[in-house]
């Protein structure tokens, strides 16, 4: 691995996340994949080790790092289990809008418990009829006195049901289209807020994905994040900040699969020798390793750019997510290939990496949508 010149603190984060992965996550990853049980015991370990606060300011109980620190931890966890890792990093996705648009009061109210890992957060944008096209949102928030009343359904929400704090996009003015969306914090337990069934998924099965149902759910007006009408832009800014994290998840998955493939290729004997002695296998491994390193470099660079407070980071974070997830899909498929028939069996670790990798090309905007963002960015740039 390239030396990315981590600070001592960043090394500590990576080492601790690695220790948790090796000692706590790897031994239970297959079990959670099978049972789909939410990994509360691991969440507790991460919380006790202060890892939920790496990206949160010190005055809110965090460690004062940023997106890059979150990426370091997410990458390590994802080597062991991407499903468990996303339970961790989706909490950050839910917290980012509060960090970006919350008032001091809102930050004081929510961030400390998120930083301590006492409460998980989640982010709810997607609806059955509004996926890639986020402007087609149906969920409404109508102001009534000192409350907003929410109605509608969000689906495919990571940490849905298990999180306590939800940042939700709803339409405060449908006539204004995308400019009529607003962002709210809704706490679990609010009357009128309930959960649908848990989805049965191809991968990241340790994580929970549920429907959020709002049925005349009254939310105090203090829970509005930012201003009315800012919801859509807020969602885009949130994704600019969160996409390097999906990239980091993809890098972790790919690295995990590569490590297993190297190990297996040395053990497996055919034609009286280890399959690692075949050039055909070595070249595959070489390509895999090169692509993983390239995606890591891109993910780290874009995370550092976000943390440096640069404007217009959207294109680069889209690139990081796009490239790392495509690499993860390719590398994990190749890892299964190197394992041969054993790779297809659940008894071996390769197939889970491949199943887990797929989601990184889909959520937080499909890779087609990332290409749209990058393409549009190029065109805008050249018009200047």
């Amino acid at each position: 691995m390239i030396d990315y010149l981590l600070t001592e603190e960043q090394q500590m984060i990576r080492d601790l996340a690695r220790q948790i992965t090796d000692e706590k996550i790897r031994p239970v990853a297959a079990e959670h994949d099978k049972s789909e049980k939410f990994p509360w015991e691991i969440m507790k370990v991460m919380a006790q080790s202060d890892l939920f606060g790496v990206y949160i300011e010190q005055k809110y109980g965090g460690l004062g790092g940023g997106v890059f620190e979150l990426c370091l931890a997410t990458e390590e966890f994802s080597k062991g289990c991407a499903g468990i890792a996303i339970c961790y990093s989706a909490s950050a996705l839910g917290a980012y809008p509060i960090i970006l648009f919350g008032t001091e009061e809102q930050k004081q109210k929510y961030l400390p418990s998120i930083a301590k890992g006492e409460r998980l957060a989640a982010f709810g944008l997607t609806e059955p009829a509004a996926g890639s096209d986020a402007s087609a949102l149906q969920t409404t928030a109508v102001k009534q006195g000192d409350h907003y009343v929410l109605n509608g359904v969000k689906h495919f929400i990571t940490n849905g049901g298990d999180a306590e704090i939800y940042t939700i996009i709803a339409m405060t003015d449908k006539t204004k289209g995308a400019r009529g969306a607003s962002l709210f914090v809704v706490e679990k337990g609010t009357p009128g807020f309930s959960f649908g069934k848990k989805e049965d998924k191809l991968g990241i099965r340790a994580s929970s994905t549920r429907e959020l149902i709002f049925d005349n759910c009254k939310v105090p007006k203090e829970n509005l994040l930012g201003k009315e009408g800012m919801g859509f832009i807020a969602a885009m800014k949130t994704f600019d900040m969160s996409r390097p994290g999906i990239g980091a998840q993809a890098v972790g998955i790919a690295q995990g699969a590569l490590d297993e493939a190297v190990k297996y290729s040395k053990q497996r004997k055919q034609f009286d020798r280890s399959i690692s002695t075949f050039q055909g296998i070595q070249w595959m491994l070489a390509d895999m390793a090169t692509e993983v390193e390239a995606s890591r470099a891109l993910v780290y660079a874009s995370a550092r750019e976000v943390d440096a407070g640069k404007k217009n980071v959207g294109v680069h974070s889209a690139m990081a997510k796009l490239y790392a997830s495509d690499v993860a899909m390719k590398v994990t498929t190749d890892a299964v290939q190197i394992f041969g028939g054993y790779g297809y069996m659940k008894e071996y670790p390769a197939e889970k990496y491949m199943r887990d990798a797929k989601i990184t090309q889909i959520y937080e905007g499909t890779n087609q949508i990332q290409r749209n963002i990058i393409g549009l960015g190029l065109i805008k740039e050249s018009a200047r």
């Binding site: 001592e8 984060i13 220790q19 706590k24 370990v45 006790q48 080790s49 460690l63």
Partner: protein, 260 residues
């Protein structure tokens, strides 16, 4: 509630080699860790602090490098750490180690409970904890698997025995030694690691703890190791199966065969 945990730095392997000539443990070139049982002692101390307040002080007697395990103890939640280190302690056996630690504890003074591991994975004697308690003349509960209650200056704990467990109640201050069943040690925290990095570890020499020169190190260690061997494996037993009366007869016959 103030707790002192005694931790020992040990080689990271259960396969400790013994020098055939000197009969001493070979420590060179082996990575050092906190004695695994002492990790349970630290965790229990930190849990008591979280429940009752107060602080946890980790103490080790060892060479200067043993400072490393003290820093680790801080990353796991201990507040203070004391390294008891002096050339004069070299060659200490369990008696001298117990004495030295008891003098260090006496200097710390303000404590309610001392927690030791059940035994060290290298020396394996399980004598140090009881030795410290005896020299401080305080009660002890060994092989504790659960602390049931601490209140009104008393502690109630379950101690493991081969047949089951005993519930023991005694006055504080006291010393307990703990077994693995007592808890699951946590991993370090980031804040703990950062604190550990910058922590100032106090170092105490023999004079600082007012140790009598004749009772420490080689001089204070009457133990002589004569021989170290692996006891022969127990022979396979024999099982008599089948109808009760017939197998009892078979058993009696074979026992008779052993006698005559």
């Amino acid at each position: 509630m103030n707790v002192i945990v005694c931790i020992k730095q040990v080689p990271d392997t259960t396969e400790v080699r013994i020098d055939p000539v000197t009969k001493n443990l070979v420590r060179e070139g082996v990575k050092s860790i906190i004695n695994p049982f002492d990790a349970y002692a630290i965790e229990e101390g930190v849990r008591l602090k979280e429940k009752f307040g107060g602080k946890v002080t980790a103490v080790t007697m060892g060479p200067p490098q043993a400072e490393m395990v003290l820093r680790e103890a801080i990353s796991l939640g201990c507040d203070d750490a004391i390294l008891v280190s002096d050339r004069a302690f070299a060659g200490s056996d369990t008696l001298a180690t117990g004495y030295t630690l008891s003098k260090a504890v006496a200097k710390i003074k303000d404590y309610d409970l001392i927690i030791c591991g059940k035994q060290a994975i290298d020396g394996d004697t399980a004598q140090v904890g009881p030795g410290v308690a005896a020299m401080l003349d305080i009660p002890q509960i060994t092989y504790v698997r659960k602390i049931n209650d601490v209140k009104d200056g008393e502690i109630t704990a379950e101690r493991s025995t081969e047949e089951g467990y005993e519930v023991v109640q005694t006055k504080l201050p006291c010393l307990i030694t703990v077994v693995k069943e007592i808890n699951t040690p946590r991993l370090p925290s980031l804040k703990g690691k950062m604190k550990a990095k910058s922590a100032v570890i106090q170092a105490w020499k023999a004079v600082d703890i007012e140790a009598e020169p004749d009772r420490i190190g080689l001089k204070g260690s009457p133990t002589e190791v004569w021989k170290i061997f692996t006891p022969p494996a127990r022979a396979q037993g024999q099982i008599f199966q089948g109808e009760a009366q017939a197998s009892v007869d078979q058993l009696v016959d074979s026992l008779k065969g052993l006698l005559y």
